[in-house]
């Protein structure tokens, strides 16, 4: 039996001792996966005792703190989840990394590259792992799409298109980040694009607000990456909500639907012309029916839950912490998302150059 008063050191058996900073909306998504991935959630920290108490009550957490420093001083944590508003990610993560605690930060890793550099330096100093919650990359259909690309079945990937429709969730701190609600939405489709695009050589962005608000609500970004182009669209006004990513290769096109958790392949068939038109449609319809049925069964049986990619990412991160291997998302990947996000805002402001970019050392 663990105790609520003693400072226990190191891992208890195989279970990693986990702390969570920030008990807002996204924490409810993280918490169930901590236990599932072999972590023992030992403490929560939040400035608001209402938020931390509420979460502690729902998940049976034994200890809560208002100050992160108190939590770091009192608990010997193996892992920390930094789920605070983006503007405090860097300071919390650096403090945790300096204590040698493996750190998982909610997206975006930070608001600018200088912060990322500071975080990377702290990780290097202590040897603790640092990763970011690019959870959509680990949703089951995304993993399948990644496998298809990496195994060469897509052929050469030449064009990527992502479309995200829907409004940002209300968050008290949205006014404090670039782009407001839209700024909060950008990282998810962007890290999906960048995973395939690699280094972005060219970028053009356009955006506007139909209602004439200060923050844009409609955004399109055209990017040229390493041997392929990408188009990223976010519409806060289009309905119904949508979240798709299309990967066009020289042999196959794959469309991932992250709302419905499906991945549909469109192939070339060497068949008589008469059925060359209907066959792909029938094939795609069949794939959708089959996957929808499977997803329904899995959901009812509790095999998949909300944010499945987050569960996978957390499991991979804990595995990496135990084995001392690479984290599921590298600091370079995270840095590149932070950099390109800011290049989008700069381009919208009339300057598309990479922000005087400090080198990020992993």
């Amino acid at each position: 039996m663990t105790t609520n008063g003693q400072k226990t050191s190191g891992m208890t058996g195989d279970r990693l001792r986990v702390g969570v900073v920030g008990c807002g909306t996204i924490a409810s998504a993280h918490l169930p996966y901590i236990q599932k991935a072999g972590g023992e959630l030992v403490a929560l920290a939040d400035l608001s005792i209402r938020r931390s108490s509420d979460l502690a009550d729902r998940f049976g957490v034994q200890r809560v703190y208002r100050a992160v420093e108190d939590m770091l001083a009192q608990e010997r944590l193996d892992v920390i989840h930094v789920l605070t508003p983006p503007q405090s990610h860097a300071s919390v993560a650096v403090a945790a990394l300096d204590c040698g605690i493996a750190t998982l930060v909610e997206k975006p890793l930070a608001l600018d590259l200088r912060e990322v550099v500071a975080m990377a330096a702290a990780a290097k100093r202590s040897g603790a792992l640092l990763t970011v919650d690019h959870n959509r990359l680990f949703d089951p259909p995304m993993l399948e799409a990644r496998r298809l690309w990496e195994s060469g079945k897509l052929g050469d990937l030449v064009a990527i298109e992502s479309f995200q429709a829907g409004r940002a969730s209300e968050r008290a701190w949205l006014g404090e980040i670039a782009g407001g609600g839209l700024g909060d939405l950008v990282p998810h489709p962007l890290y999906l694009q960048l995973y395939f695009l690699g280094e972005v050589e060219e970028l053009h962005a356009t955006a506007f607000s139909p209602s004439g608000g200060t923050n844009p609500e409609e955004l399109r970004v055209l990017m040229k990456g390493e041997g392929r182009t990408g188009v990223l669209t976010i519409s806060m006004n289009a309905a119904p909500g949508m979240n798709t990513l299309k990967l066009c290769g020289t042999k196959m096109t794959v469309e991932v639907n992250l709302n419905n958790m499906t991945v549909v392949r469109r192939r070339d068939y060497e068949v008589p012309k008469i059925i060359a038109k209907p066959l792909p449609n029938l094939d795609e319809a069949w794939q959708l029916v089959g996957q929808t049925a499977q997803n329904t069964i899995d959901f009812v049986r509790g095999r998949i839950r909300y944010y499945p990619g987050m569960g996978e990412l957390i499991a991979r991160f804990y595995q990496a912490v135990r084995n001392g291997t690479a984290p599921p998302v590298s600091i370079e990947e995270a840095a590149s998302v932070v950099d390109v996000t800011n290049r989008i805002w700069n381009d919208l402001a009339g300057d598309s150059r990479s922000a005087d970019r400090p080198a990020v050392e992993a």
Binding site: M1, T2, T3, N4, G5, Q6, I49, R50, S53, A56, D57, R58, G60, Q62, R63, V64, Y65, R66, A67, D70, A73, Q74
Partner: protein
Amino acid sequence: MRAFVTGGTGFLGRRVVRRLVERGDEVFALAREGSRSKDLVAAGATVVGGDLGDIGPVLDRVAECDVVYHVGARVQSHGQWDEFFRVNVEATQRLMDAALAGKAKRFVHVSSLGIFEIDRDGLNITDTSDYDRRPTLRGFYTRSKIDADRLACSAARAGRNVVVVRPGLLYGPDHPQQSVFLGRVKKFLRPDLLLVVSTPGYLLPLTYIENAADAVILAGVTEGIDGSIFNVIDDPGLTQGEYFRTLSHVRARPLRVMYLPVWLLAPAVKAVDKLHRLVKRRPWAPAYQLLRSERSTRYATDAATARLGWKPRVELSQALEESLRKPA
């Protein structure tokens, strides 16, 4: 010394106030305007008009005191969660903050023994045992006491001048029907026949109200115990059977007790619980609470004895006599 007491008109708080006045302390007691605040004045305390539900206006006064005894809480079994949270949790944090930012050398938080995880029979609960892992299945009072205890212990661990006292089920003269005859699952079948949903071997974590007051005062004045947590139970080995035998002996008329073991009800309760899980995937709170109450637990009081120098001054039979004595 200048002391601030919350809950000064309550079962435990009024005794704490009386003892502090007897000690020669200058006592400020938080109380709502009303007849009971006159008792505080009569006892020699200065009444600070206010309410735990709106603690802001009295915090300046709190900051000027040397010791804060936070005894008060919303104890009703009805009401909204928000109200319980504001009174029992938020007020605790704000009082603690004001006291420690002010002159206070000690903040004494009076908690409860109902807060622990008791997932099986025969557990040995210490001052550092786990909290109940399903507070949302407990009543609002207990859930709020868990939340408040967690915050107080967090400050205690962080090296602040906080001491947590957790008395057991309190009994004493003021409310004999609820406290002496235990506000547990019980019913008088006849004036001398009591039906108790439990077993004679069940360990009763009782604390006589005067003994609890002793512990609270010691927690405020003992040197070198900052950051400590004390479980305070008169006799950790007292069984329900023994208790009712002593009670029957002390009472003018003998008392017969009929026990209805929880396990007799358990199959039906568990079946309803299972149905709930099937439909809503969430346990059924009454089942959780009933099955929990069946598990006998021994509470260690070593810390209170060793570090607080506390021992129950009034023993069971005398405490029961005092409790049942008709007021003059």
